[in-house]
Symmetry: C2
Subunit: 244 residues, 2 copies
DNA sequence: TGTCAACATATTTTCGAAAATATTGGATTT
DNA sequence: AAATCCAATATTTTCGAAAATATGTTGACA
């Protein structure tokens, strides 16, 4: 370490923050499967850290809805269910509608430019990895997430944005689940382009309608593969630890 | 401990859960003032527990928006500001509107009965404690919270309900702040009755309009006393630890 | 065979102390 | 006097172990 680095603060993230992001990513990608028990000892080994930052991260994720906690019985990955998916889809549709309405009302040239940029990056990102045949490239998920964030970036409400982001992550988990169950992933560039077009044209009603349709269409496909995913997991022996 | 108790599970709450509720209540009531540092040692002494459950509770509250965390600098009570109040009010108005719309659509006789009961309890609860002159009775806060929860109880969406509850708690904190700054508290039984009347009449538009007006009217009063509250706190020497 | 208690194990939860990082205050130099 | 460095202190963060609770298993007994 040079003497310079002692004065610049490179803002080293805490173990806590690091492991929080890791666990969240693992849950959203279903590498930690729905309803699976989250034993501290197992997670300690998995992430190579002590028990305290693990528990603190899980506590945070419980508030976000990705983890459940029962007193004296520990943590679990939140279970999935058809009811939960329906609730999530409906709620997310309404929240995104508000955010989109406000964003279109407030958004200026800067917002429009960022949105076009996000769309461009999304369309030029391969959806499936060329190496692993049917798994979706994590980079595509990132660009997809960024595009939808760009749509509502100008809404002007940190609170609404945080709520939207939380619901988006929960929805992503269901998509990851449907991918695992070998459902073909549709290519919906046209859909995204239409939403963006309506937003840029300041056509609030149309943007909201298209966005809601986008959310619901995705949810329907996921719902269809949900029962299949459940069967697949049960056959693999995940009866107790598996999904609800 | 008798032999019977070993088989009945009285569900002892964990220290964690207990201290979480305590800290949340203290923050919402501004007994822990906005922007105040939350040192683990101080909280350890205040609540008489170890550091682990404290940190876990604070982590949970950070996700709820009542606490902020900066890496290696610890926790603080979330600061208050005019911008934050405006954001909170606008967002809460929209969220409650959705919940109210769904609740009116789904609600049956059971919901109506509970709502009438909640209103009755609210109106028969003294607002100010007879002992301490100008402090609001915590029991009134509870009934007020219950009444607004009863309005949206039939909305059918656990997710939306959780979001609404979180925003409601944040708004309550601002009200507590305005009370501390000696603002007179208005008696708004008539307002609550009108909202309930519209809901029971299944007049969605009117119920939403009245509810939003209720939220905004309260926020305006709070906003006026906000600058006064700030001055009061600063004079008391809370410059560094006080409010943002 | 089935039920229940008592023991043994596994796991969660909590504490106290160690390690890592930030902050403060004073001495030194420009 | 202002800025800078260094040491001392305070605080956060993390770990490892102890305490509390849940779960599983065995054996006695009806």
């Amino acid at each position: 370490m040079t003497s310079v680095e002692q004065h610049e603060h490179p803002i080293e993230p805490t173990i806590n923050a690091t492991v929080l992001r890791q666990i969240r990513a693992d849950i959203v990608a279903c590498r930690l499967t729905p309803n699976a028990r989250l034993r501290v000892e197992a997670l300690r080994l998995r992430y190579g850290v002590g028990g305290s930052p693990i528990r603190e991260a899980l506590m945070r994720l419980e508030a976000e809805g990705l983890v459940t906690l029962e007193a004296h019985k520990g943590f679990r990955v939140s279970p999935v269910s058809h009811d939960n998916l329906v609730d999530l889809t409906k709620t997310r549709g309404e929240i995104e509608a508000i955010a989109l309405r406000w964003s279109i009302a407030n958004g200026g040239v800067e917002w429009e430019a960022d949105l076009l940029g996000a769309f461009h990056r999304l369309t030029h990102q391969r959806k499936t990895k060329r190496s692993a045949g049917d798994t979706v490239d994590p980079a595509w998920f990132r660009e997809h997430r960024n595009f939808h964030a760009a749509l509502v970036a100008a809404c002007g409400s940190p609170k609404l944005k945080a709520i939207r982001e939380s619901l988006f992550a929960q929805a992503e988990r269901y998509v990851a689940l449907s991918i695992i169950s070998k459902s073909p992933v549709r290519n919906d560039i046209a859909e995204h382009e239409q939403i963006m077009g309506a937003a840029l044209a300041h056509d609030v009603a149309r943007a909201i309608r298209l966005n809601s349709a986008h959310i619901e269409r995705t949810a329907e496909r996921v719902a269809k593969s949900l029962v299949g995913a459940k069967r697949a997991f049960l056959l693999r022996g995940g009866i107790d630890e598996g999904m609800g």
